[in-house]
């Protein structure tokens, strides 16, 4: 098991390194001149001074080595070109938790509600409950999250004035974004849980459990649940990782000061140091969560734990 984790981490570091390198060269080599956009009206000489300050006058390769050195030695993700004095580290420090809170809260709802609905739907296969749940799932999957967000905003906030339209800080501000974020996920977890449960309940060992004299409740609790959740656990990995990347739109719509909000802003501002810094940080979060989930997966499914351990 330790060896497996070690290998996984080594591989992740390689992935991160490649992402960082690729991002740097792609973004640094992208069309558009951020300095010209920011201080285009200044005289050429003044622009050159600013360019020199950010090291933009040096070749890309050299800037790359400087950047990587700073990143690895001091954990410096870079300073914004557009907003003087503001660094990617500031954004990461103050805004990561905002995105994480919304994302994790939404994920929690997605998983718990999704698993329960999927289980109920599968265990009542063909009955009205099943049809209703399946209908709602299809509906929820077919509606983009920004449409949900708009609808919620329009009715709950604008028409009925139950919650604020946007803003951030208090508990009531969580309602709309979390709900809009959770709906699509609930639908897909329900869908996967349903099909996973259906395939588990047709397994031979469920017949064995019934033949032992397990009541229906016990069969579900002791035999169905754990086995049907295994494929769901694999989905949670990328989902946790995607929390930060998936909230771009919602953060923008509800003006939530999260990572995604600043990332989209950086992209539209062509703030290239910010983009590079945040991208690398996103990748770090993403790859890191994948590893955590891989390890968790081993805890849930003994087959993986043992075979991977033996290798």
């Amino acid at each position: 098991m330790l060896k497996f984790i070690g290998k996984r981490i080594a591989y992740a570091i390689l992935t991160l390194f490649l992402i960082a390198t690729a991002t740097f060269f792609l973004v640094a080599g992208a069309p558009g001149d951020p300095i010209a956009a920011k201080v285009g009206q200044m005289p050429e000489q003044a622009q050159a001074i600013i360019r020199a300050k950010y090291g933009l006058d040096r070749p890309v390769v050299e800037r790359y080595f400087v950047y990587m050195k700073n990143l690895l030695t001091t954990g410096d993700f870079g300073e914004s070109i557009i907003y003087t004095g503001k660094s990617a580290n500031d954004v990461i420090k103050t805004n990561t938790m905002v995105s994480a809170k919304i994302g994790l809260l939404a994920l929690l709802f997605q998983i718990t509600i999704g698993i329960s609905l999927g289980l109920v739907s599968a265990l009542n296969r063909g009955k009205p409950v099943d049809h209703i749940i399946r209908f709602m799932v299809v509906l929820a999957i077919c509606v983009p999250s920004f449409v949900f967000a708009s609808l919620l905003q329009y009715f709950l906030a604008f028409k009925w004035k139950l919650v604020p339209v946007f803003g951030w800080g208090e508990l009531k501000h969580y309602v709309l974004p979390v709900a809009a974020y959770a709906i699509g996920g609930i639908a897909s977890y329900t869908k996967y849980m349903r099909s996973s449960t259906l395939s588990v309940i047709s397994e031979d060992y469920i017949v064995t459990a019934k033949a032992k004299g397990c009541t229906k409740g016990r069969v579900v609790k002791k035999h169905v649940l754990r086995n049907s959740m295994i494929p769901i656990v694999t989905m949670i990995g990328p989902a946790v990782a995607g929390i930060f990347a998936g909230s771009f739109i919602l953060e923008k719509m509800f003006s939530i000061p999260g990572l995604g909000f600043y990332y989209v802003k950086a992209v539209s501002d062509n703030d290239y140091t910010m983009i590079i810094g945040l991208t690398i940080f996103f990748a770090l979060l993403y790859v890191g969560s994948l590893i955590v989930v891989d390890i968790l997966y081993g805890v849930v499914d003994p087959r993986i734990r043992v075979t991977k351990g033996k290798k």
Binding site: Y205, V207, C214, K216, H223, N227
Partner: protein, 344 residues
């Protein structure tokens, strides 16, 4: 004659499928005595497994029709299990009647320790503490001859070989020392050498626990050494039954003969080709009128395709449903042993 602990009367089971209603079991009667082994033999799809699952009450509720109106009964110690509620059935399953299945690779829960799986039925049916259940489970695992039982208790099914898993499966089924064990093709998925070991084990445990066993199989070879009585099923009906000797040496139904001929024998002449029965069992959605075996029977007569033959009894234990035993039947070319007369 010893006590009949299980009696199945006029059992009809049908399934609703998307193609129509499939009549899997069409009027089956039999009994099981204390401590004996009854073998139910037939090709796949003849209704053996459905019959055994019906006894356990394990058929899917949603699409199964068991004809209680036509007088179907499954009597266990004289009580009709078909009238039992689901709750009452859970008390019977695993404690009084147990079942083991064909494929040991898939019939154990992959995410539960072997020990826990054995303990589960003890904890459900007996009011004992966990430590006591653990002790009993360990004894069970030793009883089915799994070496290092103590360590094995903590392992998962994927760490067991096929034969070991079937042993564990037997331990699960017998944990509460049931009166009846239904073994559904217990050796089909195993290697030949392991097959004999598992059959011997079932035989030994049967004597030790004084259980009655219903052995469901398609392989007459497996049956010969362990069964007391055999009944042969075809297309949802019992076509012949008798003691082991009667079935092997005095068989009276052409289908029994076909089954026996397709078992390779030690003394089979090299030049002889192994007999193979042509065709497949009939479509049970529209079962043929008359004898369902008629289309595949080399001795088939006009009447076979028109009406179903009633039972002819040859001895206290042997009976058969075949028109060949009618006084007017054309017995030309039949083996001498098959030309029998009713005792009634």
């Amino acid at each position: 004659m010893s006590e009949k602990i299980l009696e199945v009367k006029n059992l009809h089971v049908s399934f609703r499928t998307y193609a129509g209603v499939s009549h899997a079991v069409r009027g089956v009667d039999f009994y099981l005595e204390k401590g004996e082994t009854l073998a139910i033999v037939g090709e796949s799809g003849c209704g053996k497994t459905v019959t055994s699952k019906a006894i356990m009450g394990l058929l899917p509720e949603s699409n199964t029709i068991i004809s209680k109106e036509e007088g179907a009964q499954i009597l266990f110690h004289g009580e009709n299990l078909l009238d039992y509620s689901e709750k009452q059935m859970t008390q019977i399953r695993g404690s009084k009647i147990s079942m083991i299945f064909q494929d040991p690779m898939t019939s154990l829960n992959p995410t539960m320790k072997i020990g826990d799986q054995i303990m589960e039925s003890i904890l459900i049916h007996q009011n004992v503490a966990k430590s006591e259940a653990e002790k009993q489970a360990l004894e069970m695992l030793e009883l089915v001859k799994i070496p290092n039982a103590k360590e094995r208790m903590k392992q998962y099914p994927f760490e067991f070989s096929g034969g070991m898993r079937q042993r564990a499966m037997i331990a699960v089924a017998l944990a509460c020392k049931p009166e009846v064990l239904i073994a559904d093709e217990p050796t089909t998925a195993l290697d030949v050498t392991i097959q004999a070991q598992i059959m011997d084990l079932i035989g030994e445990l049967q004597k030790e626990l004084n259980m009655a066993v219903i052995l469901v199989t398609h392989d007459l070879g497996v049956v010969a050494s362990v069964a007391d009585r055999i009944q042969v099923m075809y297309a949802g009906k019992i076509v012949e039954r008798g003691t082991v000797d009667e079935i092997f040496y005095q068989y009276s139904h052409p289908y029994t003969r076909a089954l026996l001929d397709s078992v390779p024998k030690v003394h089979t002449n090299n030049k002889e080709t192994l007999y193979s029965l042509k065709g497949t069992p009939p479509d049970l959605i529209n079962p043929p009128t008359g004898c369902s075996f008629a289309p595949r029977c080399e001795y088939g007569m006009q009447i076979c395709r028109q009406s179903y033959p009633d039972v002819t009894r040859f001895s206290a234990s042997q009976e058969c449903s075949c028109w060949l035993h009618h006084p007017k039947a054309d017995t030309k070319g039949l083996p001498e042993s098959m030309i029998r007369r009713s005792v009634d």
